[in-house]
């Protein structure tokens, strides 16, 4: 029984499996099912039944997302699949592992997704800095074309697919799916208004699905081993496995494929080896920079989308950032604010003009210039930059660590004001 469908082929001490090696380990099996007559509708139903949720951060059900793509004779002929491989969420390092470690898994997943929505063209929107992933994927694509898994009439069916590698010129906002589409079209990567959703009018105005790398990598397993197997993988309410990572001052930081539903404690203490000697856990961001802080008291909560939401945060990318007791929480939030302020695309007012103000206040705090007035302004911005107020989710993402940081580490902020310095600095 396969228990780690995402990473079963990955061994970072050697190059990734080539197509022969991949096939030998039950790779590209799903294509045979398609060649034998599995229809796009069948695949869609399987994916819906699997309960797969998007692994990019938002956790939206993948099958449901796909079902909005218009189908039938009256729908536009050209449809697109786009893989969001623009991993840039602070503290997130999972897609890199998948692409560097097992590129064919992604390609197989893309074939399934493209077949389901009947897209004949797919783009991998890869972060430009991921040079190793780029080489691995390019090689894999070449092999897949040679083998007839890509190109015209794949495995004798009337399904065609071309996969095109696009390396991004770098900006966090490109991870937002509509901004990504603008970037792919060679435009400034401002997000687009939704509705209309990309499923209806996406890349070059055509129906488009944008999925995260990890989401796509879940697909081959679902088709090859079945929905029941997939449901059996998880321990909690959600289905399948997920990549979880831990970074920060733990003993053995890393990234592991684990069933959904494990307690957080197990991840941090068993897999990441617990805190480094002499350090205490102060708090953690459970799924990258855009999630609310959680506290040591939350360690027994399970790694489920809903459970973490109940604790006021989000599972999001599943890559945790650990805050220890010798690191300044104000500085940590400030670092994130600098990031968000710089990565704002500059389209909508609150994000463009609000975040730099927040950033500037944190710089002042750092230099012992913080004031009560500034603290109030930070609090105001938590509301001001919140969901529904900005054009996209970038600034609301920034308010997650900001709002929770202000709440949980209140005394640290106040100490910066009263002591006119950062007491963590020696």
């Amino acid at each position: 029984m396969v228990t780690k469908p995402l990473t079963k082929n990955i061994d970072m001490s050697r190059p990734p499996l080539d197509i022969a090696g991949y096939e030998a380990n039950e790779g590209y099996q799903s294509l045979n099912a398609i060649a034998k007559g599995l229809s796009p509708e069948d695949v869609l139903q399987l994916v819906k039944d699997s309960g797969l949720k998007g692994r990019g951060g938002a956790g939206f059900p993948t099958g449901l997302k796909w079902s909005f793509v218009p189908s039938g004779d009256n729908s536009p002929k050209q449809k697109y699949l786009v893989v969001n491989a623009d991993e840039m969420e602070p503290g997130t390092f999972k897609d890199r592992l998948l692409m560097e470690g097992d590129p064919h898994l992604l390609l197989e997943g893309m074939l399934i997704a493209a077949y389901t929505i009947q897209a004949s063209k797919a783009y991998i929107f890869l972060r430009g800095e991921y040079t190793v992933s780029e080489q691995a994927l390019k090689k894999a694509i070449k092999e897949a074309y040679k083998k007839g898994y890509l190109g015209k009439n794949i495995l004798g069916t009337d399904f065609d697919l071309d996969i095109i590698m696009h390396t991004s010129a770098g900006r966090y906002i490109c991870g937002e799916e509509t901004a990504l589409l603008n970037a792919l079209e060679g435009k400034r990567a401002n997000p687009r208004a939704k509705p209309p959703f990309p499923q209806v009018s996406g890349l070059w105005g055509k129906p488009t699905i944008v999925n995260n790398v990890e989401t796509i990598c879940n697909l081959p397993g679902i088709l090859t081993y079945g929905v029941d197997w997939y449901h059996g993988l998880a321990k909690g309410n959600d289905h399948g496995t997920k990549l979880f990572g831990v970074s920060g001052k733990v003993k053995t930081p890393g990234c592991w494929e684990l069933p959904l539903g494990l307690p957080i404690r197990e991840l941090i203490e068993n897999y990441a080896g617990g805190m480094q000697d002499g350090l205490e856990l102060r708090g953690f961001l459970p799924g990258g920079g855009s999630t609310d802080f959680m506290l040591p008291g939350h360690l027994d909560i399970t790694l489920d989308y809903d459970e973490i939401a109940k604790a006021g945060s989000r599972l999001a990318t599943g890559t945790m950032i650990i805050l220890d007791d010798k690191t300044c929480p104000v500085g940590m939030v400030g670092n994130l604010m600098k990031f968000y302020a710089h990565e704002s695309c500059g389209f909508c007012t609150p994000c463009r003009d609000g975040l730099p103000w927040v950033d500037q206040i944190f710089r002042d705090f750092e230099n012992g210039l913080g004031s009560e007035k500034d603290l109030q302004i930070l609090h105001d911005h938590v509301t001001y930059l919140g969901p529904g107020r900005t054009f996209c989710a970038l600034a609301p993402g920034a308010t997650a660590p900001l709002g929770s940081g202000l709440k949980y580490f209140k005394e640290d902020f106040e100490k910066h004001i009263t002591e006119k310095r950062c007491s963590y600095k020696h």
Partner: protein
């Protein structure tokens, strides 16, 4: 219709619109920046947030952006809700972080949308105490200032300039709070519509450069509703005057004509009015010098010219009143057209077509509704620029249709553009060279003029077999395609004009007639452009046989002794030898004009005439729309409206009244006068705002006692700040103002609904009665082919330069080029001509600059006459060019903006 509840009050709204637009249509105050009535929504600024409730039980509600939310039936929203109000105030606070607060020295101050919205949103205390981000500014040419530090990043400028007006040299650059709007490098903004940036920008980033040099606050400008005299479109304007000089022109909303936008000729081409070179005193010629005429001498002159043997030559740039007064003075049979004989021929055809039921002359707004367009031989951008801007909108109808199919609201601007990509309604351009609209053209055929005429007839014949046939084998497929596109359209439009003779006009008419016959559609949109503000008005007054050529012959042959030339430089209209011989032969020549010209130099008596801003007048635009233009200010010297010099009429209304009853075709002219009882409570409408300042001080250097304000005995407006302001009647409102809304955005307070007609507004009066149904024109006989070194001639026009008066305005002069011939590289090579050479043209021998363009039809030469003394009337369809030893002329062709300029290899 949908019903929505706003703050507890139920409103009937249009569900196809968004909440912001509907709130404004209902007269509510909801602040906004990035939304613009003609450009739809993008949701960037977040200023128009309102609270929307799920149902009546929902007390919390959630914030939505009104501009991005449809006005769905049953929607419950609140503008007053605390969270919405406080968010809107927060947005302003953000926008103001780096704004320099330099209102006292900013040209926008006092009519600044940002000021208005800041006040409205209740942000009044600055908490931001960090460093502001700053930008460097760019030189953008003679029209526009750039002050980026004031920018609030609403993206309106690029959405207007690029998306709406088709410009390519302004863009958003950089990112996060460093976003910058500018050119890729310093330089002249290339779009012919760049001036609208001044009004589109909600604050003072883009301001009017010419105005800056002689700046005055909006409230200190004396202003009145006016009509642009730059071309035949008749855009509505609001000129502003201070200290006796005209300071600027801004757009005045007219839902049928110009909407919110002007072209740069209209906006920046007025300062000849202030010129010292104006004619400002009545003079007679005595031994080659001018001598001032006394009042009694003037009377004697008029008496002399009232005698038998006097003929009058009218003017397409003079008002109906002045042309009519001249016609009355000399008698119908002695009143002659003041445009070239070639134009006369075109105009005869145009006026005949105007009363034909088969055709409809579309307004600018209607042009935007066309879903298939054919431009036959006319360079719209340079002849009637505002219409080129409208055509840019017409090609978007396809996008709107696609959006409807995908259920994307039309106001979702970015989404509609994304969906449609490069899909456009078909627009085909048949012309002798590439044009500034080619980027939106589906099909473009470049041919010599005779070939274009033939192709026009061919298209007509393909649409309906009963149209006379013509063949042009080379373009059969294109003709077929264009015919099919026009036939398949719901609202096809044919655009042609008088720029290059009547044959093109006739071919265009045949196409429209064929469409009418084929589809049994209502009248077909046929837009026939003419060059000047009152070409149509004067054309209606002159008898068809009374052409300029006939008038000049009469003088040369002494069949007439005296001539009165009304606001006209005849040397631009007929050949030099013809005019010379006529004026030399005439016993006496009386010229009435605003400016000195070659013709005034030949006059025995010159009477100074007021400029457009100095008198009340009516003009007829290309579609036959009569419009009233009020006097803005008084002429400081002795100029008078021409009709006043030459008639006894005391009051302009009397002239208009007489014109209505006596001149055929003018019966409906009186409709443009303010109707009913225009005087509110017996008071006149002030030209000065209620905040007009300095009245006592402004002439203190002359007289410390404030004299009585000059009386205006003629119009319903007064030269004063007293009275009932035009807010009560937008039809006599120059610049809109409403409480809390000092900028031009206040216009929504006066519209029926956003983008609708002004509430009591007047869109002018269409003069033409549709009474006839004519027949097809014949295909012209095959033309003579050019011989030897000859090239086919096609007259070319420039937005900056072709109009006689605006070409005297300083900012326009900075953008002008010299007279040039445009030829293709092969024709240049054959003649040994290089880019920028000076050549002479036969028959006149005038020097012109050689402009080698890859997009000119081989065998054809474009001739742009510029402000050189070259009359198009010298040529009869052909041109010869020879290299000249002469040095380059003054400006060269450096300012020419064309896409096909042959770059030299480096």
């Amino acid at each position: 219709m949908a019903k929505i509840v706003i703050d507890g009050v139920e409103y009937e709204v249009n569900p196809d619109n968004n909440l912001l637009q509907e709130c404004l249509s209902q007269g509510l105050d909801l602040p906004y920046f990035c939304w613009h009535p003609s450009m739809g929504s993008v949701g960037a600024c977040r200023q128009c947030a309102v609270t929307q409730y799920r149902d009546e039980d929902d007390k919390e509600g959630m914030l939505v952006m009104a501009c991005m939310t449809p006005a769905t039936d049953g929607a419950i929203i609140s503008l007053e809700d605390k969270q919405a109000k406080s968010f809107r105030s927060d947005v302003i606070e953000s926008l103001m972080i780096s704004h320099p607060h330099d209102c006292p020295v900013c040209e926008e101050g006092g009519e600044c949308h940002l000021q208005d919205m800041t006040q409205m949103s209740g942000h009044n205390y600055r908490r931001y105490d960090k460093k502001k981000r700053t930008h460097r500014n760019q030189y953008l040419g003679p029209f526009i200032n750039h002050e980026m530090n004031r920018c609030i990043t609403c993206y309106r400028c690029v959405r207007y300039y690029d998306d709406y007006a088709g410009g390519t040299d302004l863009s958003a650059q950089a990112s996060h709070h460093h976003v910058y709007f500018g050119r890729h490098e310093e330089g002249v903004l290339e779009s012919e519509f760049s001036g609208n940036l001044v009004e589109v920008c909600p604050t003072g980033v883009f301001t009017d450069k010419a105005f800056s040099g002689q700046y005055s606050r909006k409230w200190d400008l004396q202003t009145a509703p006016s009509v642009c005299v730059g071309c035949s479109v008749g855009c509505n304007t609001a000129p502003g005057e201070r200290y006796g000089t005209l300071r600027r022109i801004v757009n005045r909303y007219n839902s049928e004509v110009n909407g919110y936008f002007l072209c740069d000729r209209g906006r920046f081409g007025f300062d000849y009015v202030n010129s010292r070179k104006r004619l400002l005193e009545p003079v007679k010629r005595v031994d080659n010098t001018g001598e001032l005429l006394a009042d009694d001498e003037i009377k004697a002159v008029i008496k002399e010219f009232s005698r038998e043997g006097t003929i009058g030559i009218g003017s397409p740039r003079a008002s109906n009143e002045s042309n009519f007064a001249l016609k009355t003075m000399v008698g119908d049979e002695n009143f002659f057209a003041g445009y070239s004989d070639s134009e006369h021929e075109s105009m005869a055809a145009i006026l005949t077509l105007a009363s034909d039921k088969t055709f409809h002359s579309p307004s600018v707004r209607e042009i935007e509704e066309a879903d298939a367009v054919l431009i036959l031989g006319e360079d719209v951008t340079n002849v009637a620029p505002r219409i080129a801007l409208a055509l840019r909108q017409s090609v978007r109808n396809k996008a709107m249709d696609l959006a409807s199919e995908s259920r994307i609201p039309q106001w979702q601007d970015a989404a509609v553009r994304e969906l449609a990509q490069h899909e456009r309604s078909p627009l085909s351009i048949l012309s002798p060279a590439v044009s500034r609209l080619d980027d939106i053209a589906a099909d473009r055929v470049i041919e010599s003029l005779p070939a274009l005429v033939a192709m026009g007839h061919q298209i007509a014949n393909k649409i309906s077999g009963s149209a006379p046939a013509a063949t042009s084998a080379e373009h059969d497929a294109a003709a077929e395609k264009i015919a099919a596109q026009l036939k398949g359209a719901k609202r096809p439009l044919i655009v042609a004009g008088s720029s290059n003779g009547s044959d093109l006009v006739k071919a265009a008419a045949n196409i429209a007639r064929a469409l009418h016959e084929d589809g049994e559609k209502a009248a077909i949109d046929l837009c026939l452009l003419v060059p000047e503000v009152n070409s149509i008005g004067m054309g209606l007054m002159a008898a068809e046989e009374n052409s300029l050529g006939v008038a000049l012959d009469k003088l040369s042959s002494s069949a007439a002794k005296r001539v009165i030339v009304l606001e006209n430089d005849l040397y631009r209209r007929a050949s030099k030898s013809q005019v010379d011989s006529a004026l030399d032969k005439a016993e006496k020549v009386l010229v009435l004009d605003q400016v000195t010209t070659t013709t005034t130099a030949k006059a025995d008596v010159v009477l100074p005439v007021t400029a457009f801003s100095e008198h009340e007048a009516t003009y007829i635009n290309y579609e036959g729309r009569a419009q009233l233009s009020f006097q803005v200010h008084q002429c400081q010297k002795m100029a008078q409206p021409a009709w006043r010099w030459i008639s006894d009429a005391a009051h302009i209304d009397d002239v208009i009244e007489r014109c209505c009853s006596e001149a055929p075709g003018f019966a409906k002219l009186r409709d443009v006068l303010p109707g009913g009882n225009p005087f509110i409570a017996g008071m006149k409408v002030p030209r000065q705002s209620h905040r007009y300042s300095g009245r006592t001080a402004m002439i203190a250097n002359v007289n410390v006692h404030e004299p009585k304000q000059m009386e205006d005995k003629e119009s319903i407006m007064s030269f004063s700040m007293e009275g009932i302001s035009a807010q009560k009647d937008p039809s006599i409102m120059a610049s809109p103002w409403a409480p809390k809304w000092t900028s031009n955005q206040s216009i929504s307070k006066f519209q029926d609904e956003v983008n609708g007609e002004l509430k009591q507004g007047h869109v002018g009066s269409l003069l033409f009665e549709k009474t006839d149904s004519g027949a097809y024109f014949d295909v012209p006989a095959a033309t003579v082919q050019p011989s030897g070194k000859q090239l086919h001639l096609a007259l070319s026009y420039q937005i900056f330069g072709s109009d006689e008066l605006s070409a005297r305005a300083e900012p326009i002069r900075e953008r002008m080029t010299d007279a040039y011939v445009g030829i293709c590289p092969e024709d240049a090579e054959r003649r040994g001509l290089a880019q920028g050479d000076v050549a002479t043209i036969t028959p006149t021998g005038a020097p012109v600059v050689v402009c080698i363009r890859t997009g000119v039809k081989p065998g054809t030469a474009l001739l742009y006459c510029g402000d050189a003394n070259i009359s198009p009337a010298e040529f009869t369809g052909f041109l010869e060019i020879e290299k000249s030893a002469a040095r380059a002329t003054s400006r060269g062709i450096a300012n020419l903006i064309v896409s096909d300029f042959q770059e030299e290899e480096i």
